[in-house]
């Protein structure tokens, strides 16, 4: 959907001194199947992802829920298969959400982004409650001289996305995201930053549908990395 996010993540990791490899055969972590109760489908994709990524020293995802699936849930998928479970656990130990990796592992404290203005950060559920991502994106935002960070009301409350929940129960999801949008607007911030593509599409889609053309919705990777020299 937004290739620029992945490129921004790559730039951040490269400027922290890492070489970034994107395996050609990579597809999806299996989360939609897992959350829908189709664990067989989820297991097949988990095996594929484990095999693709286990040879690397670190695995980084610019999305809290994808990282959370690998880090928290993969091992459960292989409760009855000790060999795969061990591989899942080994992979989990070296998998990180982007801002978590940048601050906790790479020790990054300054970034190249040049954004200037007020920003409020929405804590996406998986990042926050599965991975404990809370201080990291804020610390990185605070390191940017142009950024004035404002906390919105109920920043930890779910935006109502919930994957397939958003299309299965659109009325409930719409009412929840409406509240989130009101909190964002209530903060008075020029932009909202977050670390999950699903929540991002949900919030941006609702802001625009409700007539808000002004509040910018920015993925934390793009905000931290700044504009892409190569375009795209």
């Amino acid at each position: 959907m937004r290739p620029s996010i992945a490129f921004a993540a790559i730039r951040l990791l490269e400027s922290a001194g890492y070489t970034v490899v994107v395996p050609d055969s990579q597809t999806c972590c299996g989360q939609p199947g897992y959350n829908s109760g189709d664990s067989e489908a989820a297991r097949a994709l988990a095996r594929k992802l484990i095999a693709e990524f286990e040879s690397f020293p670190h695995v980084v995802a610019p999305s809290g829920s994808c990282a959370g699936t690998v880090k928290v849930h993969y091992a459960d998928l292989f409760a009855d298969e000790p060999a795969w479970r061990a591989r899942a656990e080994a992979l989990a130990a070296k998998t990180f959400e982007l801002t978590q990796f940048l601050t906790d592992v790479a020790g990054v404290s300054t970034v190249s982004g040049t954004f200037s203005g007020s920003v409020t950060y929405h804590d996406c559920c998986s990042g926050l409650r599965e991975l404990g991502v809370k201080a990291q994106p804020r610390a990185l935002l605070d390191s940017m001289p142009g950024v004035r960070r404002i906390e919105m009301r109920d920043c930890e409350e779910c935006c109502g996305f919930g994957g397939l929940f958003s299309v299965k129960y659109p009325d409930i999801s719409g009412a929840i995201v409406q509240r989130k949008c009101e909190s964002i607007r209530g903060s008075g911030a020029y932009a909202v930053a977050l670390g999950d593509l699903g929540c991002m599409m949900n919030i941006e889609g609702r802001l625009r549908r409700s007539g808000d053309e002004l509040t910018e919705v920015i993925h934390i990777a793009e905000l931290l990395a700044g504009p892409d020299g190569e375009g795209g």
């Binding site: 959907m1 937004r2 290739p3 620029s4 992945a6 490129f7 994107v22 050609d24 055969s25 990579q26 597809t27 999806c28 299996g30 939609p32 199947g33 897992y34 959350n35 829908s36 109760g37 189709d38 664990s39 489908a41 989820a42 097949a44 994709l45 594929k48 559920c125 409650r129 599965e130 109920d154 930890e156 409350e157 779910c158 109502g160 996305f161 919930g162 994957g163 397939l164 929940f165 958003s166 299309v167 299965k168 129960y169 659109p170 009325d171 409930i172 999801s173 719409g174 009412a175 929840i176 995201v177 599409m201 949900n202 941006e204 889609g205 609702r206 625009r208 549908r209 190569e230 795209g232």
Partner: protein
């Protein structure tokens, strides 16, 4: 209580369109969560007590039969009669029998969710016994044509005081008043004579204490004390999972239950009732019964859903649930709403009767984080989703779509192609604009929000181009 959970989607629509309900939900939204947060912040031991409480509940469930036998022996020794009910219907029969034996005409009731499970009021009425709810919230619901509760500890949270005022004026034939204290006095004036005249008091039970054979009741209104001490007969009706070993355990659980429920360090009343009146006691009932209900609980022991039996009915999960806070408790269609209800309803009433409930959650895990006994509610909902898939209870279109997705995602070349086609299709839909407002493939999405038009090329295509450019650059 009859189950209506199969009509979840329709019920949600009605609740969302109910302006009055939406105003009431908005007024109370976040209030309990804020009280809880303040109570937790003021209590330095919270996490340690939460762990201890979890362990107490977990270990008792490992040997539930043993603890129940000990409880029965102790309670019997203290003069109470312990009866075991297979399910709600059986519990109603047992209680109607007790009423008959003691010539009971009126029963005053303090709050009991198991009584709602069993549909006890209707059963008593059918047996010619008049039940009177004495918890203020439950009383309001009873005089409003036996409306069901919408929350496990604040049963009328969905009503405004204006609605209650209008109801009281209509039912009591008094002038309308909106002062809450005045309304409470009015209810009290109606209920006092009922307490004095009742032949039987029925209570729930927050905990059963095995070492003493007592039931502990946690309330804020004091009606529980009147119900359990004034009438000749006291029946404590609760679930078999409520037993705990010792008074020490009770003190641990009492430190966490009110804080999680209402943010109180302590409720106004904690009553411990042990056997009927003994010689020399100034008050108490002549007869005391325990009716302990299975109703699907024993089946969960040793299953992948055993964690759910730890529940101490504090209501924190619904107070923190974005879905409950949006649609209210009635939408869930049975006794228990919110996350705990979305797990319990399918387990106690059958998966096929509550197909939507385990899916009607964003899995945000706010409930799991606040649950005082660490029940992994989202994980239990996910396991229920798994059970539905295993038993073929999901719509074929959904199953097919998931299978197709998994098949494509397992084939990288095809996945890349599908992504490319998807992007072109969405851009065609967007027709040069930066967003899509009507999308046939996911009407649920665009009913509520726009969908962003994707970038012209996928990450995969662009990444490949850049890699090629780099290697050309390198060769130069």
């Amino acid at each position: 209580m009859d189950i209506r959970s199969m009509h979840f989607v329709e019920r949600v629509r009605e609740r969302l369109d109910d302006d009055e309900l939406q105003r009431n939900l908005k007024r109370t939204r976040g209030r309990n969560a804020a009280s809880r947060a303040a109570a937790v912040a003021a209590f330095s031991d919270f996490d340690a007590v939460r762990q201890r409480a979890t362990e107490i509940r977990r270990s008792v469930l490992r040997d539930l039969d043993v603890w129940l036998e000990r409880f029965e022996a102790k309670a019997t020794e203290r003069g109470a009669t312990v009866l075991w009910a297979r399910d709600g219907e059986h519990a109603c029969e047992l209680i109607a029998d007790i009423a008959k034996r003691h010539g009971v005409r009126t029963v005053v009731k303090s709050k009991s969710m198991v009584s709602e499970e069993a549909g006890l009021n209707a059963a008593l009425e059918a047996a010619g016994v008049r039940p009177v709810e004495t918890d203020l919230g439950e009383y309001i619901l009873q005089i409003n044509d036996n409306e069901p509760p919408s929350h496990i500890i604040m049963p009328v949270i969905h009503k405004s005081k204006e609605q209650v005022s209008e109801l009281f004026a209509r039912v009591h034939g008094t002038p309308p008043k909106t002062d809450i204290e005045a309304l409470t006095h009015e209810a009290r004036a109606v209920l006092r004579p009922e307490f004095l005249a009742a032949d039987m008091g029925l209570s729930g039970g927050n905990f059963l204490i095995a070492e003493t054979g007592s039931v502990a009741i946690v309330t804020n209104e004091g009606n529980g004390r009147l119900c359990t001490t004034l009438p000749r007969v006291h029946v404590a009706l609760t679930g078999i999972e409520k037993v705990i070993p010792t008074l020490e355990d009770l003190s641990t659980l009492l430190r966490i239950l009110p804080r999680s429920a209402t943010g109180q360090a302590l409720t106004n009343y904690v009553s411990m009732l042990t056997g009927p009146k003994h010689a020399g006691d100034p008050d108490g009932p002549d007869h005391m019964y325990f009716v302990l209900v299975d109703g699907g609980r024993a089946d969960l022991l040793g299953s992948e859903f055993e964690d759910m039996l730890r529940c101490i009915r504090c209501g924190a999960c619904m107070n923190h649930c974005p879905v409950y806070q949006t649609v209210g408790g009635h939408a869930y269609g049975w006794v228990y709403p919110g996350p705990m209800g979305s797990v319990l309803t399918p387990l106690y009433q059958g998966l096929e009767k509550a197909k939507d409930l385990p899916h009607a959650a964003t899995l945000c895990n706010q409930c799991g984080v606040v649950c005082p006994v660490s029940i992994p509610l989202p994980e239990l909902m996910r396991r229920l989703r798994e059970k539905q898939v295993e038993r073929g209870l999901r719509p074929w279109s959904e199953r097919l779509a998931l299978r197709a997705w998994a098949w494509v995602a397992g084939r990288p070349k095809l996945y890349a192609l599908a992504s490319r086609i998807g992007v072109r299709y969405l851009r065609w839909l967007a027709d040069g604009r930066d967003r899509i407002q009507v999308m046939g493939l996911a009407p649920g999405w665009t009913a509520q929000r726009d969908f962003p038009a994707p970038a012209a090329k996928t990450f995969r295509e662009l990444h490949a181009e850049r890699q090629r450019a780099k290697s050309r650059g390198g060769a130069r």
